[in-house]
Symmetry: C2
Subunit: 207 residues, 2 copies
Amino acid sequence: MAAGRGRPEDLREACVREALAIVAEQGVEGLSLREVARRLGVSHQAPYKHFPSRDHILAEMAARAFAAFAGHLESRPPGNPPHEDLAAMGRAYMDYALSRPLDYRLMFGTPLPNPADHPDMLRLACHAFDMLRQGIARAHAAEGRTVEGQDLDADALYVWSTLHGLAGILRGQATGGLVQVAVPVETVLEEMLARVGRGLGLRAGKT
Amino acid sequence: MAAGRGRPEDLREACVREALAIVAEQGVEGLSLREVARRLGVSHQAPYKHFPSRDHILAEMAARAFAAFAGHLESRPPGNPPHEDLAAMGRAYMDYALSRPLDYRLMFGTPLPNPADHPDMLRLACHAFDMLRQGIARAHAAEGRTVEGQDLDADALYVWSTLHGLAGILRGQATGGLVQVAVPVETVLEEMLARVGRGLGLRAGKT
DNA sequence: CTCCATGGTTGACGCTGTCAACCATGGAGC
DNA sequence: GCTCCATGGTTGACAGCGTCAACCATGGAG
């Protein structure tokens, strides 16, 4: 029975923590509940008392990754003008995607059979998306335009798509080095942000 | 021993075909070599005589998906003006991604441990990317600009990223319905293409 | 004091990828 | 024509996986 270090709720937490550690080492394919149990010195069925299935643990982990992700996006310096702030958000996005690729993949690359089964995760994901939406709205507002509703959604979808796609490609997941990115990542990103700014119809570009 | 319908090279082909069928039905996680063998009425080790490992079959399938994908991109009507042609390519891209989501995931969503091990697949992937690059170059040329080298790469990367990202999001893989896409896909796509056109600095938008 | 929900245990099942050893066949070299 | 060996199939085994089932300790509510 483990090294009796446990109050109630303890094993559940420990499972998630250990699962995250495994994913950080070996990626999501290397995760098994039995391995989690083994590392915790606990029987192979113990985690099952806290999670109905492997997918539920995955969803919980994804939820936490989303929370950390949102925190990362929020941690950019305050007080910048809207254009610059939006660009900073883009940089924060890519920074997270590249510095914690396995967490990123957990959020965006892991196929959960039915995401609707995991409402907590969905809510956190929506929160992150909202941050982007607001950043875009502010940037438009700074140029005297009011953008909202479906137009704003479309803008946000556009920015999100571009960042998400670039992240996938830079991480090589998509193409395994299809593009020979000879130039440093920062340069690629700045070029991309400039194009995105034009695409949004922002006057100054985003820089 | 199966229904002796086989010349040499036959079982290898049959494996790939059957594996693709399984993926089309159940997605890539549902694929197992044993199931392939079972469906072909052959022993569970027979496929192993033709593929060193599961990953190699996956790579072969991805390669074929890339080939089909390139074909799909190429099948757009000829003779259109460059802007329109580029937009048509974007539509073809999304059409493939949404109408054959499992193949698409095979190309872009499946994590192959080491893509460099599968040069054929890489080559086909690069070919598809080249088509995009050329389409963009023509669109610029139509406006009297010559874009090449790193700038062209950046443009292509930008367009590819955006389409790839949008495809991922529309397929729900990324976010599981994070965005409530109330409007039809076509509309979302056209809005996106318009933004991409602006991002590229094309005068007319892309439509 | 009893009872039962909670959270742990062990054991089994069927599935997977992969390794190993064995065997039929048919064409090359002599 | 006989031998030999590569090719491509076979069966059998192994460990690891998720999951189901049954069992058991404990502790708080009635």
